[in-house]
Symmetry: C2
Subunit: 392 residues, 2 copies
């Protein structure tokens, strides 16, 4: 019954990353492919205590249907965490979602007509291309430089195409690890204030900065903005909780769309996370995550310096979970992938992250869900495979 499916389905390729992850998931593979937090950071005992507390004291509330907007004290807590970082957000402008992925789906639902233009970074987060793609926009990509997108190209695209949305991950971007400079954040904010394009600012990694100085969200410099956040990297991703920050009118539409999509997010988990974040020392927990990821990132950089040829380039992110590698010349990362998989080492070839015109000599390495033994062995094997390919 092929003719019965909606047109939008023919435009969404099955995620290549997903297919890779199926292979990479096997236990004897050293995988730098996934975008997974390190499970050693998960607060299992604290979660068990929090769950007991919630079920004992508010079981009927936690297990019942509830409001679409989300658990009010959790929205307040998110608001308070923003205000500690200098951003004033009223709880009524926060909607709890199933991870920030659902934030992307809801934003697309609320804003996108077929053939609207959406600006994305080049490269960008693959699953954002999927979420937006289901609403059949035209993607235009803006080159990503070492300190953020090329603002000249951004300006001319905004002026030429009047795009509906500009999707950006300013902190430790997925897949590149690149962060926007303060100067670029200001320039972009100003540019958006002069136009009708709305910034969709995705910030799942912002709290995992392990070097350098915290920088304000672009939202600080423009009201033309929707900000997405997530508990996935700070607490745990399996509970699928994130949020959207938007102004009143947009929030009204987002709540309508959320209600039609799944009524509300898991309330049991919302109450557990709120209890966990209130009762335990989250700053200490975050310090532990940052230290672990910094050590693994440092060790991966060290191993790359030792084992990769000198003409391989790579980013050295100040936070997050990913390094971005550029192979010499016209060496295809896909070919390298096939070769390293023979050695049971996995990563994601970069071409998956482009909406158009993929740069095929790029690849993404995850350092968060690993350890030094795997990093040493995996990077060494990758280095050997790169040398082999070079010599052909």
């Amino acid at each position: 019954m092929n003719n019965l499916y909606a047109n939008r389905m023919s435009k969404i390729p099955r995620s290549f990353v997903r297919e890779i992850l199926k292979v990479a998931d096997e236990p004897d593979i050293i995988s730098f492919a996934g975008g997974l937090p390190n499970p050693d950071t998960f607060p299992e005992e604290e979660f068990a205590e929090s769950t007991s507390y919630i079920l004992e004291n508010s079981g009927a509330e936690a297990l019942q249907y509830s409001t679409t907007e989300g658990y009010e004290p959790l929205r307040k807590l998110v608001s308070e965490r923003y205000s500690k970082n200098g951003l004033s957000v009223d709880p009524k402008n926060i909607l709890i979602t199933n991870g920030s992925q659902q934030g992307l789906d809801l934003v697309a639902k609320v804003f996108l007509n077929k053939d609207d233009t959406v600006l994305v970074e080049k490269p960008t987060y693959l699953a954002a291309l999927q979420a937006f793609g289901l609403f059949e926009p035209n993607f235009k990509s803006i080159p990503l430089l070492n300190d953020g997108v090329d603002v000249d190209v951004l300006r001319s695209q905004i002026e030429e195409d009047s795009p509906k949305l500009f999707y950006s991950i300013p902190n430790f971007q997925n897949p590149t690890g690149i962060s926007y400079s303060l100067e670029k954040r200001k320039i972009i904010g100003k540019l958006l204030n002069q136009n009708e394009t709305i910034l969709v600012e995705d910030n799942p990694y912002g709290e995992i900065r392990f070097m350098g100085e915290n920088l304000p969200p672009i939202k600080t410099f423009t009201d033309n903005s929707i900000l997405l956040g997530s508990f996935s990297k700070v607490v745990a991703p399996g509970i699928r909780l994130g949020w959207i920050v938007a102004e009143d009118e947009t929030m009204h539409h987002l709540v309508t769309a959320k209600q039609a999509s799944d009524l509300h997010s898991n309330f049991f988990s919302q109450m557990i996370v709120h209890h966990y974040l209130t009762k335990y020392d989250v700053e200490e927990h975050l310090s532990m995550i940052r230290q672990m990821y910094k050590d693994q990132r440092d060790f991966m950089v060290e191993m790359i310096k030792l084992h990769f040829p000198d003409d391989v380039k790579y980013t050295q992110p100040e936070g997050g979970m990913f390094l971005w590698v550029t192979l010499p010349g016209d060496m295809a990362a896909m070919e390298l992938f096939e070769r390293t998989m023979e050695d049971k080492v996995a990563f994601v070839p970069g071409e998956a992250f482009y909406s158009d015109d993929p740069q095929k000599n790029t690849l993404r390495l995850n350092f968060s869900n690993s350890n030094n033994t795997k990093i040493e062995e995996g990077i060494k094997k990758m280095g050997n495979a790169i040398r082999e390919l070079k010599s052909q």
Copy 2:
């Protein structure tokens, strides 16, 4: 920035039920308005034990990102429960969703182009109109008789319009409480086999039959079918877990759409529910729910007989959570609502449940989330208000 929103948003009215529920939620209101299970049935202690078990034994798995399709053992368990009822469903044809509401959203995403025809019952579940409505179909409604939809109208609509989908709730329908007869299920199955219209069979209440004989799903009689299920009424709704049953090709598309929508459903809750359903006696739990709801339904019918005028009609459902009331002549349920709210008694006026041409003298009463004291007082006050309106 009104012109920036997608066209689809202008077509979705904010749920009137939602607005009512906000008022009806206040503690001094006797509410027959919501569609809520009785929280006294929630297995809080068993959930606490299940959560401890999962976090102690599989914490890292429960809290990590996981597969879009859902927790494999939970999909197997759903499959086994179907096979006990004579329906053979492979676990690979089951996708775990955020309640069956998300099932509706994903089905709409996968199937509906703008202006496709969707057949719905008249009246039907309001939030299905919202979920489908976001994809801008044309709704056509099929009158609901005491034993299911009018199959003659259904046949002529299918032949005239080649609708993409026919959305049906064959067991203890929301809002009417009506169930389809075995004969109608067979006729509808045969009709669908001869056409390309796909049945979307929503069955959230099937396991809460407290009288009469279990009847097979319409899916038994046709392959042209997508079946939706839910843990909301059997376990608890706050955890937002349900599922979709579909054949391979449709499942492939549904998984793609689910991945783009929120990657996967809450894995922590999936594992807890699986442990709970495996370790504890669910049949005993279901018996308890059925007995409670039967008692409350019986008492509500008894009170209606005692306190409503004789020319008020009402359904006497064999399961589920709702009665459907038809007021005499041209009495408007909305006017009755305004009057009973002065007495702090709430229900949902029927017009919210129609895609077109609402029958304004109808209303929905929920009996599951109540007790005999409230039922007696609430129905008595409603009866007085009806008599008052009649005498004007």
